[in-house]
Structures are given as structure tokens and as C-alpha cells.
Amino acid sequence: MELILIFFSAAIVNNFVLAYFLGICPFIGVSGKITSAFSMGMATTFVMTITAIVTWLIYHLLLVPFQLEFLQYVSFILVIASLVQFVEMFVKKVSQPLYRALGIFLPLITTNCAILGLALFMVLKDYSFIQGVVYGVGAGAGFTLAITVMAGIREELDLADVPKPFKGVPITLIVAGLLALAFMGFSGLISI
């Protein structure tokens, strides 16, 4: 039960994009088409889950026993960067169709602050291993949800008559603001 709560809390109530502002760059940049947004979301979820596993292990089995917690930022970012590289190579070798679907998005993920944010929040909230993994999957699902919904709205926006100075980034931000308002309706649903 607690795990289900963690999942929905990360995915909907405390949505990474709309409540914590993590992963805004791909959110603004990539979310132009539903299909590519969904692929990006899936790739991010994938990396997030693996990141949650690996960073949890590194933090609790390596940094804490040797009292090296102050190295966490340096080690987390290195792990994430090499992880993304490794995942890219692995996917390329194992599944060509998957590689073609995710390929171009994978390198972009390293600079997605949602990934490092996930690792930091996980340490901050002092989750156990299973909780951490569920948190990672939930955060990824929330990211996918937000970016896909946004892409759907932006496809419609292309046809709308937006005032010229507001075309592009400004209107996207305003739409994101309205989405954040809508997602606030979920707050209070779960308190964790």
C-alpha cells in the first residue's frame, strides 16, 4: 500500500515537471509531437529507474560506510553520465527497433535535471531500496504524463491564433502554468 502511495505521489501529486520544475528543458524543447514526446518520456523513465537502483546502491553501500557523503554530487553526476552512455550502447546492441525509437533522445537525458533531482530526492527522503525504485518509476511515469499531455496541447496550439510575441516559449510556459494549476487539483489526495 505504501508503495502505491509513493508511486502516485511521485507521478501525479508531486509531479516532477509541474510541481518541482525538474526537466523543464526537454519539456519546453521536445514536446512538439505526441509520438516523440512519448518516446522521450519512456526513455527517461527507463533511465530514471536504473538511476534509482544504481545511485541507491552507491550511496548506501559505498558513500555512507566510508563517510564520503560530501562526494555525492560528483559521484551521482558521473554515474548518471556513464549510465546513459552504457544504456545507449546496450540498447543499440540488443534491440535495434528500440534504439531507433529512443536513440536520439538518450544523450539528451544526461543533462535532464530530473534524473539528478531524482537521485537527490531519494537520498533526502531516506527511502529504502524498494521504495526508491518505485519512486523512480513513478517519477518517470509522471514525467511521461506531463510531457505527453503538453505535446497534445501544443499540436493544437499550432492551429491557434496566438499573439505574435507569445509564439513559441512564452505560450508554452503559460500553458504549463495552467497545467500546473490543473494538477494542483490532485494535491491533498495523498500526503506523503
Binding site: 509541474l18 510541481a19 518541482y20 520544475f21 525538474l22 526537466g23 523543464i24 528543458c25 519546453i28 560530501f70 562526494l71 555525492q72 554530487y73 560528483v74 553526476i77 558521473l78 553520465a81 543533462t111 535532464n112 535535471c113 534524473i115 539528478l116 533531482g117 537527490l120 530526492f121 533526502l124 499573439p163 505574435k164 510575441p165 507569445f166 516559449v169 512564452p170 505560450i171 508554452t172 510556459l173 503559460i174 504549463a176 502554468g177 495552467l178 500546473a180 494549476l181 494542483m184
Partner: protein, 229 residues
């Protein structure tokens, strides 16, 4: 070869012409997340500027030693080191601010503004120029964060830097200090900046067209006279 800017321009370009937030839309995550109040915005911008400047200093001085293939990893390591320093200092000296900014201080590591400047500027320019460039970008970032944080604080709580500025009967707009307010305010500011720029561009275009027409008219007259003679 691009023309070298004068040293003062190198600094000033970050303030507006290439403002990291309004012109390049870089590093938006902290911009949106911490600007609940002006003081948070200032603290965040100062922390970012420190990391940006120190990283630029190091990277521009060893730019010829870093192999191209591993440069991104090297940059990230240098940046992460300075972020750790900032985080520890803030925890020790300003525990309140450090708590308010929370995980967004460590997230400076992945701020695309910092990595972007290293890749685009510090890796190709001398130490002095990189220093000016990063200080300028930092100041531009500070301006953006202060404006956004100040507006949200004024409308959201009726104060600026903790001092009451709105009259007593003013009912604070709660939405401004919620996440939604961040998106809406930045969107409107962005729109305003764009509309100002487009107007300026249009004015410049009109001016050029006018100048061209005038010149053409004069030329025609001259030509006409030449024919007449």
C-alpha cells in the same frame, strides 16, 4: 573569424543582448523553482554565478590540456566540485537559505547555462575574457531571477525582500507563490520581452526602409537631372 568584442561589451552582453534566461531560455529549472521570493532568487543567482565564474576560470586556463573526447565529463566534474563547495558553505553559513533552496543548490550541476557557457565560450577563449563573460552571464541571471522573484513576492505576499510594499487592503494572490504562478509570470515576462524586441526590430526595419527610399529618391532626382542635362 568573428570580430572580437571589446572587453566591456564582453561583460555587458550577458545583461541583456544574450541574457541567459530571456534570450537563450537556459537554466529555467532553478529560475522557476526558487523564485518564490526575491531573496531566494538573489541567493540562487549568486551561487550560480560563483560556480559559473570559478568553473570558467579553471576551464579556460586548462582548456588546451583537456582532450576533446572527454571534455564534457571533465567540465561536469569541475562544475560538480564547485557546487559541492557552495553547498557546504551555504549549509554552514546560511542554514535558513540553504534549507529554502533545498535540492536546487546541488541541481546547479546540471544547469545547462553553466555547461553551455563552458562549451560555447570558456573552452575557446582566454582566461580574462571567460571571466568577464561568466560574470556578465551571472549578472544577467541575477537580474532575471530578481525580477521574477520580486514580482512573485510582491503579488503573492505583498512584500519585497520582507518589507511590506502593497497597501493593507491588498489581498495576496496565492497562485503567484504556487508552481503555476512561476510558469505564468515567466511566460508573461517572456512575451513582454519578445514584444518589445519585435517592436524595436520593426522600428529599425522601418528606419532602414525610409533611409533606402530617401536615398533612392535622391538618386532618381540626380539621375533625372543627369538625363535632363
Amino acid at each position: 573569424m568573428k570580430k572580437q568584442l571589446t572587453l566591456s561589451k564582453e561583460y555587458l552582453k550577458g545583461l541583456w543582448d544574450q541574457n541567459p534566461v530571456f534570450k537563450q531560455a537556459l537554466g529555467l529549472c532553478p529560475v522557476l523553482a526558487v523564485t518564490v521570493s526575491a531573496i531566494n532568487g538573489i541567493a540562487m543567482a549568486l551561487a550560480t554565478t560563483f560556480v559559473l565564474t570559478s568553473a570558467s576560470l579553471i576551464i579556460s586556463s586548462i582548456r588546451k590540456l583537456i582532450p576533446t573526447q572527454v571534455r564534457i565529463a571533465a567540465y561536469i566534474l569541475i562544475i560538480a566540485t564547485f557546487v559541492t563547495i557552495v553547498d557546504l558553505v551555504m549549509k554552514a553559513q546560511f542554514p535558513e537559505l540553504s534549507k529554502a533552496l533545498g535540492p536546487y543548490i546541488p541541481l546547479i550541476v546540471v544547469n545547462c547555462l553553466i555547461l553551455g557557457r563552458q562549451e560555447a565560450f570558456s573552452s575557446k577563449n582566454t582566461v580574462g575574457r571567460s571571466l568577464l563573460d561568466s560574470l556578465g552571464m551571472g549578472t544577467g541571471f541575477l537580474i532575471a531571477l530578481f525580477v521574477l522573484g520580486g514580482l512573485r513576492e510582491i503579488f503573492g505576499t505583498g512584500t519585497l525582500l520582507g518589507i511590506q510594499v502593497m497597501p493593507d487592503f491588498y489581498e495576496p494572490w496565492l497562485v503567484m507563490i504556487l508552481p503555476a504562478g512561476a510558469f505564468l509570470t515567466l511566460g508573461l515576462l517572456f512575451g513582454a520581452a519578445n514584444s518589445y524586441l519585435q517592436k524595436k526590430e520593426q522600428d529599425e526595419k522601418n528606419y532602414l526602409i525610409e533611409k533606402y527610399l530617401k536615398a533612392k529618391k535622391e538618386a532618381d532626382e540626380m539621375g533625372g537631372q543627369a538625363k535632363w542635362n
